[in-house]
Structures are given as C-alpha cells and as structure tokens.
Amino acid sequence: MTTTFENLGEGDTIDGPTFEVSRESIRLFCDGSLDYNPLHLDDEYMKGSFGKTNFGGIIMHGMNNFGLITRMLTDWAYPAGAIHRRLETRWVKPVKPGDTIQPTGIVKSKQVTANSRWVLIDVMVKNQSGEKVATGEAMVEFPN
C-alpha cells in the first residue's frame, strides 16, 4: 500500500537499511565527511581514556548513525511525495568495527498546521545485540 498522510497511524514502523561497520567503512566515512578525528582512525590514541571513558579502540562516527537514519527517512518519504524536515539524535552507545547496525522508525503522531501536514517519528539505531546505539525524533512533511 502506498504511504499517504491519511493512512499512516501511530505505531506504524519504518525499517531502515542494515549497515556493516568495519575499519574500511569508518575510513570511507572519514573521506565522505572530512571528519578525520583520531577517534575514528588511530588505534594507539584510542588506548587512552577520555575523562572517565575508555573506548578500547576506534569508534564509528556518531554522525554515521545520523546519515543512516536520514537515508531511511528519505527513502521512505520520496515515494510518498513527502519531505524530510527535521532530525534530532543522541548517541547512546559507541559503535565499533564488527558491529552491524540498523535504524528503525515508529510513527508517533500526526499534526495538521495552517499550511501543511506533519508526521512525527521516533527513530533509533540498534546493533546486532539489539542494544540501542542512537535515539532521536524526526519530522516529515506531507505537503497538501
């Protein structure tokens, strides 16, 4: 069934793509984003601690989660004639090489404003153990 503003309901789910995280995928994200922070590159550096946190090795960019959630939302919105308008995220747990992550969305509510129609979506990214690594909220516009 085609997704429309009318037929969407609270609790409807959106399945995003699975993504295998590797040293190579993290390196490619460095090149794609120009974010070459040693957190994502330098094993020696990552043996150290950051305040109270020791990651134990390189970690994936938090914004890689953001990019995957965006991909899920736009791939869902484009065929419906809808527009991805907002995404807010928090990182809950670091993601490391060898992890497989997947974003999902759950429709939370719909709202009609003076000039348009909006769908509010809770989003999250989970790893292969079912642990949440990122959570957030998104807003998709369904123009009249």
């Binding site: 120009l34 070459y36 965006t70 308008r85 990182w91």
Partner: protein, 158 residues
C-alpha cells in the same frame, strides 16, 4: 577535487592553534570559508552511508522530480561542517566527542552550489565533570537561501 586535496586530514597538525573549552566564547562567530559542493563530493558522501537513491546520481531521473535536478542528501551538512571551516576550527580538536545533533531542513543543497556557513558556539557548560559546548550553524547557498540549520552538543577534550 582541488578543495579535497587541500584538506588537511591530520587533525593533530593545527591542534595547538585551536581553542580549548576555556577559550571558547559563546556567541562569538566561528571563522568559516565558502565551499563549492561538487557532484564528486556528494557521491563520495553517499557511498560512505550507502545512499543509492537515483535523485542523488541520475540527472535524467532527478529532472522528473519536484526538485527538477540532482540534489544532495539532507545529511550532507555532515560534510559541509568540515568543508566550510578552516583547519584551526575547534570542531577538529582530536578527542572531540559528538553527543548529539538536531537539524532542520529548508531546501536541498545541489551540485555546484557555493555553500556558506554562519556558525558560533551558543553555550558551554560542565556536566558530570565533562566539558560541553553547544554549537549552532546555518548553511546558505549562493542565492542566500537557507539550506539547513542545526545545533550540536560536543564534549571537549581536556
């Protein structure tokens, strides 16, 4: 690709020039530089997150959509944040940990756009012994239209 080749990928190199948490003044503008967004840069970013929608790659298809031509994914601001800031920008300080971000999207960026950034630290605070800075950012295209605006929370290296 001249811009990409000029980009300093060793973030240690200018580390001593960057502001630490104590030096960052909320409200003070960050130095920014205009950046011409190329199709190559969009395609490389797309590859890094597995974006494969034809609206980013297929000109003939893109012309049939509401956008009338190729666009970049909304999340292209991830690249633009580093592309539009100089090597001594404190966002590049090694050990900068991203805690979360929120972004609003107005119109898409397109290949060939000359993107400018207005950015500043908005707030700084200490929580559970961690040094936080909130930064806010607005990206514009060459016509002065807002592409997107957003806010981020980072934990600063000590």
């Amino acid at each position: 690709m001249a811009q990409a080749e000029a980009f300093e990928t060793n973030f240690w190199k200018h580390a001593n020039l960057r502001k630490v948490w104590d030096d960052i003044v909320p409200g003070e503008p960050r130095k920014t530089i205009p950046y011409t967004l190329t199709r190559d840069a969009i395609e490389l970013y797309c590859a890094s997150v597995g974006e494969d929608h034809p609206i980013y790659f297929d000109e003939a298809y893109a012309r049939t959509t509401r956008y009338g031509g190729l666009i970049a994914p909304p999340s292209i601001h991830i690249l633009l944040m580093f592309a539009c800031t100089p090597a001594d920008d404190w966002m590049r300080s090694p050990g900068t940990v991203n805690a979360g971000q929120s972004w609003s999207y107005n119109i898409p960026a397109r290949p060939g756009d000359v993107i400018t950034l207005q950015a500043r630290a908005l707030d700084k605070f200490i929580k559970r012994e961690r040094l936080f800075v909130v930064h806010d950012n607005v990206f514009f295209n060459q016509h002065g239209d807002v592409v997107c605006s957003g806010r981020g929370w980072t934990i600063r290296p000590e």
